[in-house]
């Protein structure tokens, strides 16, 4: 069981702290399909990253099949980290633009030294997974900017599943995708789930999708131990997050403007 308890996380933003997740608790069983819904800006992505051991929470604890996680990020042990995998919201951002699609899929295995890039086994695995997520072989040799968003998201799914995780967290898997690509990805996940008793947490803002595909659906606004955060709060938080993003953007342009 993947169990998150009383997770809290806030970010430092211009004008004080922004509370992204406030004491949320969530459990995911193996073989379960759990949907997590909520409006944008309600902390779903932050919770997903904490549960995937990528982001250290300010407070709260995470256990994977009884093993307590107390370190996050690069410090976390590979064996533990491979039990939980995350598929990011925007595939364009989640793949290193310098790696070919095939390399990107194999990267976790090579990175954790389960395989060397020269091994013949790589090719076999790569083509097995390409088939499972519905990628044609010629796409594996292309760079990320040469394939479509949907194809890239299939590659991201393959990359997450190739390390044989016990739990899969999909953060808005389909928000940018067409309905048939979304269906294809969900079918691929379902097939693996049937084989390996995979626990799936599907984060989405599509209530219909969550209701039809998942066995259970949780609303992030109801997960908080300490409830009572008002609607105005959420809007405020959204607005200030957007302002921070904007100013980062503007500064980026300003930096580029400087002559060498």
């Amino acid at each position: 069981m993947l169990r998150a308890e009383r997770i809290s996380k806030s970010y430092r933003a211009s004008g004080g702290h922004v509370v992204a997740v406030d004491g949320a608790s969530l459990q995911l069983e193996r073989g379960q399909r759990l949907g997590l819904v909520g409006p944008s800006g309600s902390g779903k992505s932050t919770l997903a990253q904490v549960m995937a051991m990528l982001l250290a929470p300010d407070d709260g604890s995470l256990t994977v099949d009884g093993d307590r996680i107390d370190v996050w990020g690069v410090h976390c042990r590979c064996e533990l980290r491979h039990r939980v995998q995350l598929v990011f919201q925007s595939p364009r951002m989640a793949v290193d633009p310098r790696l070919r699609v095939g390399e990107a899929i194999l990267e976790p295995l090579v990175a954790s030294r389960l395989l060397a890039a020269r091994d013949a086994e790589c090719a076999v695995l790569l083509h097995d997974w390409a088939t499972r997520v519905g990628l044609t072989y010629d796409l594996l040799e292309r760079f990320p900017h040469e394939v479509s968003e949907g194809q890239l998201q299939r590659a991201c799914l393959a990359r997450a599943l190739i390390v044989a995780p016990r739990y899969l967290i999909c953060d808005e898997l389909s928000s940018m995708l067409d309905v048939s690509t979304q269906a294809a990805l969900l079918e691929a996940i379902a097939a693996i789930q049937a084989e390996q008793e995979l626990g799936v947490l599907l984060i989405t803002h599509d209530r219909v999708l969550a209701d039809t595909w998942c066995g259970e659906v949780a609303d992030i606004r109801e997960l908080a131990a300490r409830s009572g955060e008002g609607e105005a709060d959420a809007t405020q938080r959204h607005a200030s997050a957007r302002a921070a993003a904007l100013s980062a953007l503007v500064r980026g342009r300003q930096r580029r403007a400087m002559p060498p």
Binding site: V74, E107, A111, E141, P260
Partner: protein, 299 residues
């Protein structure tokens, strides 16, 4: 086609990639690269290529305009200007490349330290960088030259003056790139895949930093050429008898009133050619630095 064969084709060799890149160059890039290569070769082989001794005084042919014997004319003591310009190109390029390397090394070191250490060390390093950046680097270079020319000699002092004043912008770029690449989701994804610190640095940070550093180096070279010649021109750099482009231009300034325009024109053209070719190459590189994030199909 076999599965194994497909996997092997995933990686292209460096040479192969370079050749592929050069094949895609537009005409102006080929011209720029050709002219630069010509300048570098002519400069390096100045002793072989140049017809005459660069210090040979010939008082019978003083201040002569361009002729067949002296394609760029002669100076006020009758030295062949073409020979001196070729030597000047060599001296200027060597000094500029070494000085730029020094500047880039300092900048990259400070930037990487600030970016990786973070916290207080980062703050201290960046404030230090700010202080250096808030200097007028030309004037500061003059100060360094005056202080260190007696001990390091003209060449050494110029390298110090350029290396010590051109690193802040690079330190900022390196730190900024490092911080921004660390926040990208694909780095999180790599951590999720189980990449170690070492692998993150080697496989993700370094490939994103190196082109920026390389580009900064290339862009610093023409700048350094400019500084070297400017300092020499002002009489603060190399010894007056050395055939640096700046020194020749200083001769040219003296000869202007006597109508010796060619002494001012040709060394400047050499400077211009160096700066324009390197600038063109750097600009092209900058445009192709980042792989296209967006597909052309998304309209």
């Amino acid at each position: 086609m076999s599965a194994a064969g497909a996997a092997l084709r995933l990686r292209g060799g460096l040479t192969q990639r370079l050749v592929e890149t050069a094949r895609r160059w537009p005409t102006y890039m080929r011209v720029a690269a050709g002219v630069l290569a010509l300048l570098v070769v002519a400069g390096l082989l100045a002793n072989v290529v140049a017809p005459l001794d660069d210090t040979a005084v010939d008082l019978d042919h003083v201040l002569e305009g361009p002729t067949a014997a002296h394609p760029m004319g002669t100076d006020e003591v009758g030295r062949d200007l073409l020979t001196r310009v070729l030597h000047g190109v060599r001296i200027s390029l060597v000094i500029a490349v070494l000085a730029s390397l020094a500047a880039v090394a300092v900048g990259a070191l400070v930037g990487v330290l600030a970016g990786t250490l973070g916290g207080r060390a980062d703050a201290v390093l960046m404030r230090m960088t700010d202080v250096f950046a808030s200097q007028n680097h030309f004037l500061f270079g003059v100060l360094l030259l005056v202080l260190f020319r007696p001990v390091l000699g003209g060449t050494g002092a110029i390298m110090l003056a350029i290396g010590f004043t051109h690193w802040p912008s690079l330190a900022r770029i390196v730190r900024g790139e490092l911080l921004s690449v660390r926040e990208r989701p694909f780095v999180l994804a790599a951590i999720g895949g189980g990449a170690s610190r070492h692998r993150l640095a080697r496989r993700h940070y370094l490939p994103h930093l190196l082109p920026a550093v390389g580009l900064a180096f290339v862009l610093t070279v023409p700048h350094a050429v400019f500084h070297e010649s400017a300092y020499s021109f002002l009489g603060l750099g190399l010894e007056p008898h050395q055939a640096s482009l700046g020194n020749i231009l200083a001769d040219g300034q003296r000869s202007l009133l006597a109508g010796g325009w060619w002494i001012a024109l040709f060394p400047g053209l050499a400077l211009l050619a160096i700066a324009m070719t390197i600038g063109t190459i750097a600009e092209y590189w900058r445009e192709h630095l980042h792989p296209r994030w967006r597909s052309e199909l998304e309209l």
